[in-house]
C-alpha cells in the first residue's frame, strides 16, 4: 500500500527491537548489540554506539552521561535528542537525581527516549519491569487517587492506559498574590470514577483542590515555549499588552521584570516561567518537602533550554540528519531556528518546505518515494487545506468569524513547533462535551468512564462560553481552573508538534492513542471529510516531526 506509512495493523508491525535493528543497520551497517538501543552521534558525524548497556529508560540517579546527541527507537523510527550544551554529566545533576521525597527525578516523567515527555508504552514497560514499584507510579499523582490501594494496576489505570497524571489545583482559584479569585461559575462534580474529587482527604471539599488528569509536556525545545532563549525574563517574547484571544485578556508579566511572558507553559498556562514550573513540580510531583534551592532550579531550567527533541530517523527513509533533508526535520533544526516566528504565511511557513520530498530522491525505492510524497502532501494539507473551523472558543473569537474557513496552520502557526504564537489556549473540544471522547455507556462496553466529569454553571451576569452557553459538562475545565472564567472552560494550551512518534498518546487528556486518532478527532470535530489517503498523509507528516 503506497504511502501507508502508519499502517496500524498490529500483525504487520515489527517489534520495536526488530525495527531498531533495521534502523541502525541502515545507518551504520552494523549489527546491533543486544540490549543496547541508544545511538550516539555528534552533529555531522556518523553515529556510534554507546559502550554501556542500559535500557532506553532513565532511572532516577541513573548516572549515565548524556551525550550531545542521542537517539531512541519508536514505532516510526527514532527520536533524536540534541543537547546543545554538549556532553552532560548526570550524576549529581538536579534534573536526574531524586530531589524530592518520593524517589522521582524530573527525568522520570521527561524521558529522553520519549521526546522528554513519557509515553504509555514506556509506562507499561515500567510497570511490568518493576511490578508497579517504579517511582513514576507514586501515589500522589501517578495513581488515580492517593487514597486507592497502590499495589493494584487498576489504581493506576489512567497512567497506564492514557499516560495521565493527577493534577490537583486549588478551587476556588488563587490569584498570583495568593488571594482567592471569585469564579464566574459554579463547579459541580457529576462523575468521579477515580474518587479523588470527593475523597475524604483529597476531595475538593477536604483539600480545596480539584483533581484533573493530564499528560506531561515535553521538556525540550523550550525556547519556543517561552518565546526566547533567555530564561531570566529580561527579554519579552511578546510585544503586546493584550492577548489576541477576543476576550481582552492581558498577557501576564514576568514576576521579576514586569515584562510580558508567552503564557505557553503547561496545559493551562498557570506558570509564567520555567523556574516556577520546576519549583512547583518539585513540590507537587517529586514531593520535595521544602522548596528546591534556586540555583538548582536554574540549573534544571538551563539544562532544559539546551535540549532539542524531534524525530530523527524514519525506518523507511533513514536518518533526517543526513544532507539534503527538509529544513524542519530533526532536532538540530530546532536548535538552529528562531523561536516566535509566525508561520501561517508564505514568508516563514510553519514547517518550512518539504519540496525536496515531492520528487523521488536518487536511489529511492518506490516505497521510499511514496512515503516522502505522502509526508509532503500531509504538510500541504496542514498548511493549505481549508475547512470550517467552528465553535472553538479563543479561535473563532479572534475576529475571523464563526465559522472561519481556514487551515490547520491558522491555529498551529508557530514556525518549527506548530504551537499558537498568541497564547495557545483554545477550547477545541477535547475535554468539553459534546466533543470530548467518552466511552460508550452500554452493557456491551466493559470500559466505563475513567475521567471525572464536572458540571459548570455560569453566573447570570458573567460572560459565558460563546459556543456552549452557561451550562457546560467537562472532563477538565482547563484554563478556567486558573482564571475562574466561563469562557476559559475547556481551553487547553496547544502543544508543540515535535517528537510525536516518541510520546503517544495525544491531547492533554490522552484521548488519541495514535496519530490517526488525532487526525480523526479533527475530522469529526470540524466535519472535514478527509479521504483515507489524506488521513494517511497527515499521520505520516506528523510522524516525522
Amino acid at each position: 500500500m503506497p504511502g501507508d506509512g502508519a499502517d496500524p495493523q498490529p500483525a504487520q508491525r515489527l517489534g520495536p527491537r526488530a525495527r531498531v535493528a533495521l534502523a541502525i543497520h541502515a545507518i551504520v551497517g552494523l549489527a546491533l548489540c543486544a540490549g543496547d538501543t541508544s545511538v550516539l552521534a555528534r552533529a555531522g558525524e556518523e553515529p556510534s554506539f554507546s559502550a554501556d548497556s542500559h535500557s532506553d529508560w532513565w532511572e532516577e540517579g541513573d548516572g549515565r552521561v548524556l551525550p550531545e546527541y542521542v537517539a531512541y527507537p519508536n514505532r516510526a523510527g527514532m527520536v533524536g535528542l540534541y543537547n546543545k550544551a554538549g556532553v552532560t554529566e548526570t550524576r549529581g545533576h538536579p534534573f536526574f537525581e531524586p530531589i524530592g521525597s518520593n524517589g522521582r527525578a524530573c527525568v522520570t516523567c521527561h524521558q529522553p527516549a520519549n521526546g522528554m515527555s513519557v509515553s504509555v508504552d514506556s509506562i507499561q514497560e515500567r510497570w511490568e519491569k518493576t511490578q508497579g514499584k517504579d517511582p513514576i507510579f507514586a501515589a500522589i499523582d501517578g495513581s488515580n487517587c492517593p487514597s486507592l490501594p497502590q499495589e493494584q494496576r487498576a489504581s493506576h489505570s489512567l497512567l497506564l492506559e492514557r499516560g495521565l497524571f493527577r493534577i490537583a489545583l486549588p478551587w476556588p482559584p488563587k490569584a498570583r498574590d495568593g488571594s482567592a479569585i471569585e469564579p464566574d461559575f459554579e463547579l459541580e462534580v457529576v462523575r468521579d470514577p477515580t474518587g479523588c474529587n470527593t475523597d475524604a482527604r483529597y476531595g475538593i471539599r477536604a483539600s480545596g483542590e480539584v483533581s484533573v488528569f493530564r499528560r506531561p509536556r515535553p521538556f525540550a525545545n523550550l525556547k519556543y515555549v517561552i518565546g526566547t532563549e533567555r530564561t531570566d525574563g529580561t527579554v519579552a517574547p511578546i510585544d503586546r499588552v493584550f492577548t489576541p484571544k477576543g476576550t481582552a485578556t492581558p498577557f501576564a508579566v514576568h514576576p521579576q521584570t514586569g515584562l510580558p511572558v508567552s503564557m505557553q507553559i503547561m496545559a493551562d498556562a498557570r506558570h509564567l516561567t520555567l523556574q516556577s514550573q520546576v519549583e512547583d513540580a518539585a513540590i507537587k510531583h517529586l514531593q520535595a518537602r521544602e522548596p528546591v534551592d534556586r540555583a538548582l532550579v536554574q540549573k534544571i531550567v538551563d539544562f532544559g533550554m539546551q535540549l532539542h527533541a524531534a524525530q530523527a530517523f524514519d525506518h523507511r527513509i533513514g536518518s533526517f540528519l543526513a544532507e539534503g533533508m527538509p529544513e524542519a526535520l530533526g532536532p538540530y533544526s530546532l536548535a538552529r531556528n528562531r523561536p516566535n516566528v509566525l508561520g501561517d504565511n508564505w514568508d516563514n511557513p510553519v514547517f518550512f518546505d518539504f519540496d525536496k520530498w515531492r520528487v523521488p530522491a536518487p536511489g529511492d525505492t518506490p516505497e521510499q518515494t511514496a512515503f516522502r510524497q505522502s509526508v509532503a502532501r500531509g504538510y500541504d494539507l496542514f498548511f493549505l487545506r481549508p475547512f470550517y473551523i467552528r465553535d472553538a472558543m479563543h479561535i473563532n473569537t479572534t475576529g475571523i468569524g464563526n465559522p472561519s474557513k481556514r487551515a490547520c496552520a491558522t491555529c498551529h502557526n508557530m514556525q518549527s513547533t506548530g504551537m499558537d504564537l498568541g497564547t495557545g489556549w483554545v477550547d477545541l473540544g477535547t475535554t468539553n462535551l459534546p466533543w470530548a471522547k467518552e466511552p460508550v455507556q452500554s452493557e456491551w462496553n466493559p470500559n466505563k468512564p475513567e475521567l471525572p466529569l464536572f458540571k459548570i454553571t455560569c453566573k447570570e451576569d458573567r460572560p459565558q462560553h460563546l459556543f456552549l452557553g452557561r451550562v457546560i459538562y467537562t472532563q477538565d475545565p482547563g484554563r478556567a481552573l486558573i482564571t475562574g472564567k466561563c469562557y476559559d472552560v475547556g481551553a487547553i494550551v496547544m502543544q508543540q508538534f515535535r517528537a510525536l512518534s516518541a510520546r503517544a498518546p495525544y491531547f492533554s487528556n490522552g484521548s488519541a492513542r495514535t496519530l490517526r486518532e488525532l487526525v480523526d478527532f479533527y475530522d469529526r470535530r470540524f466535519n472535514i471529510g478527509y479521504s483515507e489517503q489524506e488521513r494517511t498523509d497527515l499521520a505520516n507528516f506528523l510522524s516525522v516531526l
Partner: protein
C-alpha cells in the same frame, strides 16, 4: 469585477472606500448568514426582505470582524446601494454578536460561480508573502512604523479615554489599544486617581423598537475594566469605579457610541 475588488479592499484597510452617502442608518437584529466562495466566505444578513452584505472573512487585523453563527447579531450600518456577494453593502457597519446563543442561526450558503471574492487581503490559506501584499498596497512599506507617541510632559492634565463595547458585552476586545493607552498614561503621569464609569444604552432599531442592554452591564463593564487595568499595571489603590444604571437612549444613529465605559485619568 472591479467593484468586488474595491469592496474587498475597502473593508479592511483604513482607506475610506465610499463617499459618505446621505442614507439612513439601518439597525436591526438578525441571524448572520455565511456565504462560502471559492476563496474566503462573506457574511450577509437579511432585514425586511433585503439582503445586506456585511463583511468578508479576513483576520483579526480587519477593521470589522465577522459575526458568528450560533448567535444573532445587532447590525448597524448605512446602505450604499452597491451590491457585493449577493447583498447590498452596508457602510460603516458595526456588528455586535449578541452574547446569548441562538442555534437557529446556522445558514451557510454554498459557493457558486455567481459570487466571487477576489483579492481578499487574506485568503483561507496562509498569508501571502509580505512583498506581495505590499505590492498590492495591503500592508505598509517595510520599515514604516507608526512613531511612538511622546511621553506627556508636565503639567499633566486629566485625560479621558472611552472604551466601546459590542451590544451587551462586558469585554472590549476591539478596544484593547484604548485600554493600553489609558494604562500607559496613568503610569506615565503617576495618576492619583483613575475613575472608571460604566454605561449601558439602548439601540433604536429601524423598526422603531428599542433594544436595551442588560441591567448588570454598566456595573460589569466598570468592574472588568478596573481589574484589567490593575492587571496591566495601574496602581489598584488609585482606581475608583462607578456606573450609571439608567440606559443611555439611542437615536438610531451611531448608537454604538453609547455602549461604553470611560476611564478618567487624574494627575
Amino acid at each position: 469585477m472591479k467593484r468586488p475588488v474595491l469592496c474587498a479592499i475597502g473593508m479592511l484597510s483604513s482607506i475610506p472606500a465610499f463617499a459618505a452617502p446621505q442614507a439612513q442608518q439601518l439597525s436591526f437584529v438578525a441571524c448572520p448568514i455565511m456565504r462560502d466562495t471559492e476563496t474566503v466566505p462573506c457574511w450577509l444578513a437579511d432585514y425586511e426582505g433585503q439582503r445586506y452584505f456585511l463583511v468578508i472573512q479576513i483576520d483579526s487585523r480587519a477593521k470589522v470582524h465577522p459575526p458568528m453563527l450560533g448567535h444573532k447579531a445587532l447590525v448597524e450600518g448605512v446602505p450604499t446601494g452597491e451590491t457585493f456577494c449577493g447583498g447590498e453593502v452596508l457602510e460603516n457597519v458595526r456588528i455586535s454578536v449578541l452574547p446569548e446563543r441562538e442555534p437557529a442561526c446556522d445558514v451557510i450558503l454554498p459557493a457558486t460561480a455567481e459570487h466571487v471574492v477576489r483579492d481578499a487581503p487574506r485568503g483561507p490559506g496562509p498569508r501571502d508573502k509580505m512583498e506581495v501584499l505590499r505590492a498590492k498596497g495591503l500592508r505598509p512599506p517595510a520599515g514604516a512604523r507608526a512613531p511612538k507617541p511622546e511621553a506627556p510632559k508636565p503639567p499633566y492634565e486629566a485625560r479621558e479615554f472611552t472604551v466601546y463595547y459590542a451590544f451587551d458585552w462586558q469585554l472590549a476586545p476591539r478596544d484593547v489599544d484604548t485600554i493600553t493607552q489609558a494604562m500607559q498614561y496613568a503610569k506615565q503621569i503617576a495618576a492619583s486617581r483613575v475613575e472608571i464609569k460604566g454605561y449601558r444604552a439602548s439601540a433604536k432599531l429601524s423598526n422603531g423598537e428599542y433594544l436595551t442592554e442588560k441591567e448588570f452591564v454598566p456595573r460589569r463593564r466598570a468592574q472588568v475594566l478596573a481589574s484589567t487595568l490593575a492587571e496591566i499595571g495601574v496602581d489598584e489603590s488609585t482606581i475608583r469605579t462607578s456606573w450609571l444604571d439608567e440606559p443611555l437612549r439611542g437615536t438610531g444613529q451611531q448608537d454604538w457610541l453609547l455602549r461604553k465605559a470611560t476611564i478618567l485619568i487624574v494627575p
